[in-house]
C-alpha cells in the first residue's frame, strides 16, 4: 500500500516533467501592458551613478538615462558624437577639444554645458573636489591620462592629457564617461546613485530595492523621442526564474539567456537576438613555474582543448572559437590571418612528450562560479578538465565565488595554481593586452598579468600602439602582437562570446550592440 503511494508520487513527478516539456510553447499571454517594456536583468544594480559602477548589468540601465560626450556608433565599436557634436585632437595627441551640443538639459532641469563636463571629470579625478566623496570611482583610471579639464566657453571644453593615450575617445564612450547632473549630485550627495539625473531619452522614476528600476520616456529629449512610454528593469538573479518569467510572459526581454535554455525560445512567440562583442574567454597559464613555464606545454594545452565542443555544446553556440588575445569585434585591430589552435590531442601529446611532461602531472585549476562575462564557468572548467586529463594531465579544480576568485587570481597564480579561468570585456583593443600581457603588468607592478607572461617584443608593441594617434599604425602593431602572443600561448584562447537576448514577439526594433550596452531608445513595445 505504501509502495503504491510512492508510485503515485512518481506519477506526479512525471506529470510535472511532461507539462514542463510540452506546455511551455504557447504564446505568452498579454501580461505586460503595451508601451511598457519589461527587461529581465541578471542582478540588482549597484548604483545608478555611472562613475561608481563597473558591471555591464548596471550599464544596461545607465546608457538609457545618461549620455556621454561621445557614444559608440550603433552596431559598431566606432566612436560617434553624442553630447559633443564635434572634437579636435592636437597633433601630438595630448589635447582633446570638444564642442558641446546646444540646448540640452538634464532631467532635473539643469542645463548641460562645459562647466558640467568639468564637474563630472573633476569629481572623479580630483581628490579635493567637494563631491569626490560621493565615490569611490573604481573606473576613474580610465581617465587617469587627463591632466586637466578646462572650460573654454559655455559649449567648449578641453582635456589636456599627460601623455598621448590612444584609447581616450573610446573610453569617453564607455559608460564611465556618462554625464551626470551636477545639481543632482549637489542635492543628493552620496545618495545620488539612487536619485539619478542624466540627459538621456529616459528619465528615472523609481527604484524599488530588488524589485524594479523604472524609467520613463523623456518628453524633453533633444533627439528622437523614445519608442516606449517606459522601461522597467527587473533584477532576476536566478537564471531559471528569468527563463520561467520570460516563458510565462512576465518580462518582455531578457539578456544573457542561459545557453541551455535557448532551445525553448525557438518558436514564433520569441525572438532571439545575438551579437558578438569584444569579449575573450581564456585560461591564464602560469608561465613562471610548473609545467606551463615551458612554451610547448602551453601550446599543448591549446591543442588539447576541444574548443569546438565548448562553444557548440557547452555554450550551445552562444560563442565563437577565439584565435588570439584580440576579439574579432575590434574589426580594425583583429588579425584575421590567425587561425585558432586546432583540436589535436595527438599533437598535444607529442608536445608534452617533447617537453618531458609525465603522464598524470597534476595541475591546479582555478574555476569561478560566476562573474562578469564568465559564461558557464563550471561546466566549461569541467569540460576543459576532461580534455586535459585525456592528454595525460591530472587536473584538480578548485572553485571560488567570483570575488574570492579575483582575490586569488589577480595577485598572481605563483605558488597556488597552474591555470585559471578568466574573461574580459573591453572597449578598446589596448585594454586587455596592456593590462594583462605586459611584463610591466605583472601583479607585483599593479597589473593583471597573473600568469607572468613576459615578452619584450610584445611590451614594446603595446607601448607603441598606445601612443600612436593613427589607427592604421595601431592596427599594424596590434596584429603583430597577436601573432607573437598566439605563438607564445601565455593563455589558452577559448571563446569570444556572442551576447544574446530574447524578446517576446511584441517587441520590435531591438538589436544588441557589440559594446554589450543595451540601447533601448528605438525599441517599440506593442
Amino acid at each position: 500500500m505504501k509502495s503504491l503511494d510512492l508510485t503515485r508520487r512518481a506519477l506526479i513527478f512525471a506529470a510535472i516533467t511532461s507539462l514542463s516539456l510540452g506546455g511551455g510553447d504557447r504564446p505568452a499571454a498579454a501580461q505586460t501592458p503595451p508601451g511598457v517594456l519589461i527587461v529581465g536583468q541578471i542582478a540588482e544594480p549597484k548604483s545608478l551613478d555611472p562613475a561608481a559602477v563597473t558591471a555591464v548589468n548596471d550599464f544596461r540601465i545607465l546608457v538609457n538615462v545618461y549620455e556621454g560626450l561621445v557614444r559608440y556608433e550603433p552596431g559598431t565599436l566606432e566612436v560617434a558624437p553624442a553630447l559633443a557634436t564635434d572634437w579636435a585632437i592636437s597633433e601630438e595627441g595630448t589635447e582633446y577639444t570638444f564642442t558641446l551640443r546646444e540646448g540640452v538639459t538634464f532631467h532635473d532641469g539643469t542645463p548641460f554645458n562645459a562647466e558640467t563636463v568639468k564637474f563630472n571629470f573633476d569629481r572623479m579625478l580630483n581628490e579635493d573636489h567637494p563631491y569626490h566623496d560621493t565615490g569611490p570611482f573604481p573606473l576613474a583610471f580610465f581617465f587617469s591620462a587627463i591632466a586637466k579639464t578646462e572650460v573654454l566657453d559655455e559649449l567648449t571644453v578641453k582635456f589636456t592629457l599627460n601623455a598621448p593615450y590612444a584609447p581616450f575617445l573610446s573610453n569617453l564612450a564607455y559608460p564611465t564617461g556618462l554625464m551626470v547632473s551636477p545639481a543632482a549630485v549637489e542635492q543628493h550627495g552620496a545618495d545620488f546613485g539612487r536619485n539619478p539625473a542624466g540627459t538621456g531619452p529616459f528619465t528615472f522614476v523609481e527604484w524599488r530595492s530588488n524589485e524594479a528600476v523604472v524609467i520613463e520616456k523623456n518628453p524633453d529629449y533633444w533627439g528622437d523621442p523614445a519608442g516606449t512610454e517606459a522601461v522597467v528593469f527587473r533584477p532576476i538573479t536566478d537564471a531559471n526564474t528569468r527563463v520561467a518569467e520570460m516563458l510565462a510572459g512576465g518580462i518582455d526581454m531578457m539578456v544573457e539567456v542561459p545557453p541551455t535554455a535557448l532551445s525553448r525560445f525557438q518558436g514564433d512567440a520569441f525572438k532571439v537576438v545575438e551579437q558578438a562583442g569584444p569579449h575573450l574567454w581564456f585560461l591564464i597559464l602560469n608561465a613562471k613555474e610548473g609545467p606551463f613555464a615551458d612554451k610547448r606545454v602551453r601550446q599543448a594545452a591549446n591543442y588539447a582543448i576541444n574548443k569546438r565542443a565548448l562553444v557548440d555544446d557547452v555554450l550551445e553556440g552562444t560563442a565563437e572559437i577565439a584565435a588570439g588575445p584580440t576579439p574579432p569585434a575590434f574589426a580594425w585591430a583583429h588579425n584575421e590571418t590567425l587561425a585558432p589552435y586546432p583540436y589535436d590531442p595527438e599533437r598535444a601529446r607529442a608536445l608534452l612528450d617533447e617537453a618531458g611532461i609525465e603522464e598524470g602531472t597534476e595541475l591546479t585549476f582555478y574555476v569561478t562560479e560566476g562573474g562578469s562575462g564568465m559564461l558557464d564557468p563550471i561546466p566549461m572548467g569541467t569540460a576543459i578538465q576532461a580534455d586535459l586529463n585525456a592528454v595525460g594531465f591530472d587536473v584538480k579544480i578548485e572553485t571560488y565565488e567570483w570575488n574570492t576568485f579575483l582575490g586569488e587570481v589577480n595577485p598572481g597564480l605563483e605558488g597556488k595554481a597552474d591555470m585559471a579561468e578568466m574573461a574580459w570585456m573591453t572597449n578598446d583593443p589596448d585594454t586587455l593586452p596592456y593590462l594583462a600581457l605586459r611584463t610591466e603588468a605583472w601583479p607585483s607592478e599593479g597589473g593583471f598579468n597573473s600568469g607572468y607572461y613576459s615578452n619584450e617584443e610584445v611590451d614594446r608593441l603595446l607601448e607603441e600602439a598606445r601612443v600612436a594617434t593613427d589607427q592604421e599604425e595601431r592596427a599594424r602593431l596590434y596584429k603583430r602582437m597577436q601573432e607573437i602572443v598566439q605563438e607564445d600561448a601565455p593563455w589558452v584562447f577559448v571563446a569570444n562570446w556572442k551576447q544574446n537576448a530574447v524578446t517576446s514577439d511584441r517587441v520590435e526594433n531591438f538589436s544588441l550592440e557589440p559594446s554589450f550596452l543595451l540601447q533601448l531608445e528605438g525599441v517599440v513595445k506593442n
Binding site: D5, R9, I16, L19, S20, G23, G24, A29, T32, P33, V36, I38, E44, K46, S47, D49, A52, T54, G135, P136, P138, L139, F141, A190, D191, G193, R194, R208, S209, N210, E211, A212, V232, R234, P235, I236, T237, D238, N240, T241, A244, E245, L247, A248, G249, G250, S372, E401, W402, N403, T404, L406, G407, E408, N410, W424, P443, G446, G447, F448
Partner: protein, 315 residues
C-alpha cells in the same frame, strides 16, 4: 509579567552583542575584501589597498568593531559599499519583504502543522492520520528549492495561474490581492518543511498529553470529546509545541534565503547572501543584527506566550 518581559529583553542584549562579535570574527576570517568586490575585474593589489584605506578598512579589527558598535548604538548602521546607500534603509526595506514572506510562511506552517498534528493524533492509526503522516513525510523530504522550481514550472509557466516571481506585479499591482497572488507559491514552498516538522511534533505532543490524567478528568466530568481535544489537550500540548515554533521560526527565516532566490523575492535573506559574497561587512552586520534581534525578540515573545499559557512558569 512586565518585569519578566523586561528581564528577558535585557538578557537578549548579551546574545545580540555576542552575535555582533561572531559576525565580525567570521568576516575577519573570510578571504577577499570589499575593495575587490567593488573594483571587480580591475582589482589590483594597489587599487584594493587604496580603496580599503579610503573605506577605513585598514584600521585594526577591534577598533573597527568598536567604531561600528558605537555608531550602531546611536542608530547609525553605516553605509553599504556594495549598494551605495545607508545600511538601515536597505535592511528595513528588504526586511519588510522578508517579514511578509516568512511571516506568512510561519503562520501557514504553524496553523497547518498544528492542525494536521491534532487531527493526526485524534485519529491515530485512522485514514486521516495515515494520509497526514505520509504527506508530512513527503513534505519534509523535498528540498524546498527543488519544490520551488517545480511549482514555478507547473503553476506559473505551464498553467499560468500564478506569477512566476517577485512580490508585486511590476505594473498596476501593489494591492493586497496582487501581493497574495505573488505570495502563494513562495510562502507554500517555504512552509512545507516546517509544516511537516510542526505536524509531527504536534502529533506526538498531543498523544503524550492525551494520556495525561487531567484528560481523563475532563472526560470523567463529561466534557465532549471535541472540546477535550481542541481545548484541554491542545492547550496543554501547546506548552511543548510553542518552543518548537520558536525554533522553526528560525528555520523559516533561514529557508527564506533559498525561496527568495528561486522566487526573486526582494527580501533580506538574499541580501545577506549577497553581502557575504560581496564582502559588504557593514551590510551583513546590520542585516544579521536586525534579523537576529528579530529572531531573539520573537523568541522572547514565544517565552512570554509560554508564560501566559503556562502559569507554572516563574515570571
Amino acid at each position: 509579567m512586565g518585569g519578566y518581559i523586561l528581564k528577558r529583553l535585557l538578557s537578549a542584549i548579551p546574545v545580540l552583542l555576542g552575535i555582533t562579535i561572531i559576525v565580525f570574527a567570521i568576516m575577519a576570517m573570510i578571504p577577499g575584501d570589499p575593495a575587490t568586490a567593488i573594483l571587480g575585474s580591475y582589482a589590483t593589489p594597489d587599487n584594493v589597498e587604496k580603496l580599503n584605506r579610503d573605506l577605513g578598512l585598514d584600521k585594526p579589527l577591534l577598533q573597527r568593531y568598536f567604531i561600528w558598535l558605537g555608531n550602531m548604538l546611536q542608530g547609525d548602521f553605516g553605509r553599504s559599499f556594495s549598494l551605495n546607500r545607508p545600511v538601515l534603509d536597505e535592511v528595513v526595506e528588504r526586511f519588510n519583504a522578508t517579514l511578509v514572506l516568512a511571516g506568512t510562511g510561519f503562520v501557514l506552517c504553524s496553523v497547518l502543522g498544528i492542525l494536521a498534528g491534532v487531527v493526526s493524533a485524534a485519529r491515530q492509526y485512522g485514514v486521516a492520520d495515515k494520509i497526514i503522516t505520509f504527506t508530512v513525510l513527503i513534505g519534509i523530504s523535498i528540498p524546498s528549492f527543488f519544490l520551488g522550481m517545480m511549482i514555478i514550472l507547473l503553476f506559473a509557466v505551464n498553467l499560468r495561474w500564478l506569477p512566476v516571481s517577485g512580490m508585486y506585479a511590476i505594473y498596476g499591482g501593489g494591492d493586497l490581492p496582487d501581493l497574495l497572488k505573488h505570495l502563494v507559491m513562495p510562502a507554500t514552498a517555504l512552509a512545507v518543511v516546517a509544516t511537516g516538522v510542526i505536524a509531527r511534533l504536534s502529533r506526538s505532543a498531543m498523544l503524550e498529553v492525551l494520556r495525561q490524567d487531567f484528560i481523563r478528568t475532563a472526560r470523567a466530568k463529561g466534557v465532549p470529546e471535541r472540546r477535550v481535544i481542541m481545548g484541554h489537550a491542545l492547550r496543554a500540548a501547546m506548552v511543548s509545541i510553542l518552543p518548537v515554533l520558536g525554533i522553526q521560526a528560525g528555520f523559516v527565516l533561514s529557508g527564506a534565503v533559498y525561496i527568495e532566490m528561486v522566487f526573486q523575492w526582494p527580501g533580506v535573506g538574499r541580501m545577506l547572501v549577497d553581502a557575504i559574497l560581496k564582502r559588504d561587512i557593514l551590510l551583513l552586520q546590520g542585516g544579521v543584527v536586525l534579523v537576529a534581534a528579530c529572531y531573539v525578540l520573537f523568541n522572547i515573545a514565544v517565552d512570554v506566550a509560554q508564560a501566559l499559557l503556562d502559569p507554572r512558569i516563574k515570571t
